[in-house]
């Protein structure tokens, strides 16, 4: 929490804000170059396989976002600090965005490989259900005006929703299974050339930095919006 406040303080400097955005954009460009140009062609795959370098990181960021919502919700109910409510909200926003990107990149790949935009495959279906759950979370937030009520309801839903994630995944896996490629089975023997692994690592880093930067900037905006609202209501009184 101290760390979060310190990081938030840092974003007060314009140089930090633009610098971090620039650095994130640069990293993303390097990642794109490595993924689209430098990385070798995969055996038995068309060029569309390269989307995996974006698909896997977005998937990880989506789940990270949902986890942030869970952690924020839990901490809010425990510590009663509105900062955690904002953290939870931003986690869901980023989670929904990255989950959407994961689905879109996956669908583009699937159209090539499976010949269909959509297949009711466990991982896809799980991601879709999660997208609906967290879109619901954001809808729930948007319909409540009272700050305290909103924070509490959202926290309850954030916790219940996250507990549902593994259950949904497990249930859908049981319900019907079509092959989803498992890219990396173990880190010790990844089963692909080091160039590919390194490209994936860089892309992962790029998306991780993007996530962190977006998270902090959104947190700053939300915090400022709260301060403005407080100032306004003081002024009116």
């Amino acid at each position: 929490m101290k760390l979060l406040e310190k990081a938030l303080k840092l974003t007060d400097t314009a140089l930090v804000r633009y610098g971090s955005l620039g650095a994130s954009a640069l990293l993303m460009l390097v990642g794109a170059y490595l993924a689209l140009v430098w990385s070798p062609a995969a055996a038995g795959e068309t060029a569309v396989y390269r989307i995996v370098y974006f698909h896997v990181p977005t998937a990880i960021m989506a789940y990270l976002g949902f986890f942030v919502t869970f952690a924020g919700s839990f901490l809010f109910l425990w510590r009663k600090d509105m900062l955690f409510d904002r953290v939870a909200k931003i986690g869901a926003e980023l989670g929904v965005v990255f989950c959407g990107l994961m689905l879109v990149t996956g669908m583009i790949w699937g159209k090539q490989r499976w010949g269909a935009w959509w297949i009711w495959e466990p991982r896809l279906t799980t991601a879709l259900i999660l997208l609906i759950i967290y879109a619901g979370y954001l809808m729930l937030r948007s319909t409540i005006d009272n700050q305290m009520t909103r924070a509490r309801y959202a926290a309850v839903f954030g916790i219940v929703g996250f507990l549902d994630v593994p259950v949904v995944h497990f249930a859908i896996k049981m319900w019907g299974s079509i092959m989803h490629p498992v890219v990396i089975k173990s880190m010790a023997d990844p089963g692909m050339p080091p160039e590919m692994i390194n490209t994936l690592r860089v892309c992962m880093l790029a998306f991780g930095v993007l996530f962190a930067v977006l998270f902090l900037l959104r947190l700053r905006v939300e915090t400022l919006a709260l301060e403005i609202a407080a100032l306004r209501s003081n002024h009116e009184e």
């Binding site: 319909t143 409540i144 219940v160 319900w175």
Partner: protein, 227 residues
């Protein structure tokens, strides 16, 4: 614990009395469940060959929809004359309120099922209750999980501006696993599948119920304090 159960019992009796005095709502919901079943017949072109396969899906969807209607009302009646404030001010454990509402909703759904299933058996000419005990176990475990999360989300949505739409939108995605476990267990019994597969699903349903009942009962007070 005894105290909680006693309070829950008193609250449940109160809810049942108010419900019994009007009785209208139960009838309306039954009509709705019936309609869903009839409409599916036209939507799917049901024939004797595909009935066993489709029956569990039709039944569970009818119950999910009818149950959601009932849930929407369970806290709404408390809003009349600000009863909810009296409930909130009374010095009782919040868990007791949760248990009472949960049991009331569960009872409501079970009554709907008891009324709907015989009609389904006649209309579709398929005895879904052939394995009576096994099928009842599926329905009960499915109902418990459904009404656990349902009671929590219904309490949450009663104060919202768009409550009619938000209750199903928030609740149904959370119930996807439950629907998969329950509908496939019912389906196994109807199509004569593996007993092991049936038991597996029943255990999963029970696990789902336990997890979400404990969590819902724990977090319910945060909802109740804001009602």
């Amino acid at each position: 614990m005894n105290e909680i159960l006693r309070t829950a019992h008193a609250l449940l009796i109160k809810d049942m009395k108010t419900e019994f005095r009007s009785r209208e709502f139960l009838g309306h919901t039954f009509m709705f469940a019936l309609l869903v079943i009839v409409i599916f017949n036209f939507a799917f072109k049901i024939n004797p060959q595909n009935t066993p396969e489709l029956a569990s899906g039709i039944l569970w969807i009818a119950f999910l929809f009818a149950g959601t209607l009932g849930l929407g009302r369970s806290f709404l009646i408390e809003k009349e004359n600000d009863c909810i404030q009296g409930l909130g001010l009374s010095p009782v454990d919040r868990t007791a309120i949760f248990i009472a509402k949960f049991l009331g909703n569960l009872l409501f759904l079970v009554i709907i099922q008891v009324m709907t299933i015989p009609v389904f058996i006649v209309l579709y000419n398929l005895n879904v209750m052939e394995h009576f005990t096994l099928q009842t176990a599926v329905f009960l475990l499915g109902d418990i999980g459904f009404m656990t999360l349902g009671t929590l989300i219904a309490a949450m949505s009663v104060n919202l501006k768009a409550r009619e739409i938000l209750l199903p939108v928030l609740l149904l995605p959370l119930l996807v696993p439950l629907l998969i476990f329950a509908a496939s267990a019912t389906s196994i019994l109807l199509t004569g599948g593996e007993p092991d597969a049936y038991m597996g699903r029943l255990k999963l349903l029970a696990a789902y119920d336990v997890i979400f009942f404990v969590v819902s009962a724990l977090v319910f007070e945060y909802i109740m304090d804001e009602l």
